[in-house]
Symmetry: C2
């Protein structure tokens, strides 16, 4: 097994990808770590070191080819393979996600939407129909989705996650305020909006202190 790459590096990868995508759409063909560092506000050497974790994508005296690097990072992130995803819980956040997020460009393919609320079951969202949560087991058995977007109330989050786990889902994008119980064979990305708000609140308070 290769030496694993530190999570600090992984966290930065999507940001590199984002910037490269923009450069690409601007028609820029090549970029040096120095110029990219200025745009991104991090040091050039960090960029070089980060990228070197995965191989030498640059060329001395030339820099990095934007299109090539963009493609390589996509491969590293695994965006070239489309994992099937389901959305569980059509709350406002869940609904919003389906509209705004371009899953296809980020490694996923949304194949099913589920809820328990009779009012929501049957609704058309994008090109999908909201299904009854009761049917989720047979759906998962048939479709074998890899990932579930969990957008259910806090109180039931862990229960639902456990049920899905037993049905074979080992990856979650968790929007619920609850913290999912940790398991070795499960990967989770949490999006805790409340935490972000509180961090922002802290920053504002700190800034105000300094100014007084």
């Amino acid at each position: 097994m290769e030496k694993s790459v530190s999570s600090s590096v992984i966290k930065r990868l999507p940001r590199y990808y984002r910037y490269l995508g923009e450069l690409l759409s601007l028609g820029i063909e090549r970029i040096s770590s120095k110029e990219l560092s200025q745009r991104m506000g991090i040091t050039a050497s960090q960029i070089r070191q980060d990228l070197n974790c995965f191989g030498g994508f640059g060329q001395q005296g030339y820099g990095y080819n934007v299109e090539y690097l963009y493609g390589e990072i996509a491969k590293i992130l695994g965006l070239d393979f489309k994992y099937k995803a389901i959305l569980v819980g059509v709350g406002n956040i869940g609904h919003a996600l389906t509209q705004n997020t371009n899953f296809e460009k980020r490694g996923f393919n949304l194949v099913g939407i589920f809820d328990t609320d009779p009012q929501k079951i049957g609704m058309k969202i994008q090109n999908l129909t909201v299904l009854d949560y009761k049917e989720i087991k047979s759906f998962i058995e048939a479709e074998c989705p890899t990932m579930a977007i969990l957008s259910v109330p806090r109180a039931v989050a862990n229960q639902v996650a456990n049920e899905l786990y037993d049905m074979g889902i080992k990856a979650f994008l968790n929007f619920s305020y609850a913290e999912l119980a940790k398991r070795d064979d499960v990967v989770v990305e949490n999006i805790h909006l409340g935490d972000s708000l509180m961090r922002l609140c802290y920053k504002i308070s700190e800034k105000n202190k300094d100014e007084v």
Copy 2:
């Protein structure tokens, strides 16, 4: 000026707050760093050191009083003061936010909602009416909000942020895919859903590699 607390510590504070809130609702009066560490999955030593950045909230031989510590962290985060916030852009995400997020409990008070779309202007959301973005200047002058939740399309994000900056807003919760230009006197929390998806994609891909 006191020595500033590292951002690693700050990032963890909301999570402590969340766990303490839960303990509180469970009626647990006191907790040791050891037990909390087991629940949270981090070392006891880190918990103690993190908390000690802000003062000695614990008592040797006793542990930490949950209610007291909860209150102290709220004070540190600045949640006891309610900053006025406005929502700019009633996209799906923006709309969802107003429904799901309990701003009041996280240091903010939502006082205005703005959009440019005539179809949305006039809509009632919670107890607020969506106002025309054209009116935002006079509104800001009158109400002096501290923070803006930016939920506008990528293409206009930086322009809107600049306009708001000129009107006096120096704190942003940014949901747009764009990266806001950095300024010294502005604080920003970014929520890049796409990045989270890609990180999750990476984790899934890595896990699959290991298993092969």
